[in-house]
Assembly symmetry: C2
Homo-oligomer: 108 residues x 2
DNA sequence: TTGACATATGTCAAATTGGGCATAATATTA
DNA sequence: TAATATTATGCCCAATTTGACATATGTCAA
């Protein structure tokens, strides 16, 4: 994890809400893009799961994972990788293009 | 790692070339998509690096990583995650949309 | 050829991520 | 309201991923 991400975690743990993370924390464009991707994928995952009428437990089963991890996936928790996020999307039937679209989706 | 991915590794280690991995190994659509994404991102990474006139060492430095890992990234090695692949693309200046496009790119 | 540079591959300790459990918080329904 | 279902969060530690290193292989010009 990068320095800035650690800093953010510390701040959030201390009860701060980070309004505009991008320049407040001076994230590099790449770091910012990564955060945005995580958010975009998280949201798509939740939408797809709900559209499919699945509970987190049901999705976890399809994924071969646990409810708690699905909750973290959808929360964009720092402990989940893009890798797992993408696996999860594929697990509920998203195509490669669907994932690409989700990835590029606006989140601001 | 999944069962089938392990199987593929064993086969490749034994000297086999996997022509059409998709149905020979009976990968699920999701697993196949994941493999394709890895390949697509790997290729985009190498193209971008070469276009930028960078060596693997130079890119490794920008990434905060090592030459060997960059080599593995470009080789689509099983030991690299989509996460790192995406970080690498962002590190050489790809935008979120660029990554999305790369991800969806045809590889067959 | 040799030498210099670039890339590939194997290994391993350290760091990150994952699964699963317990439990808390938050709906939702009777 | 209480009971039930769903989602969130913290924790542990096993598994995976990573950076770094050594070394092998490949490339190309002198």
């Amino acid at each position: 994890m990068t320095m800035d991400a650690k800093k953010r975690k510390r701040l959030e743990a201390a009860g701060w809400t980070v309004g505009d993370a991008r320049d407040f924390l001076k994230l590099s464009p790449g770091e910012a893009a990564l955060v945005e991707m995580r958010i975009a994928l998280s949201r798509s995952l939740r939408e797809r799961r709900l559209d499919a009428g699945l509970t987190q437990i049901a999705l976890a089963k399809q994924l071969g994972s646990s409810q708690s991890r699905v909750a973290k996936l959808e929360a964009g928790d720092a402990s989940v990788s893009l890798e797992l996020l993408i696996r999860a999307l594929l697990a509920i039937g998203a195509s490669r293009r669907d994932v690409a679209n989700a990835l590029a989706r606006r989140v601001a």
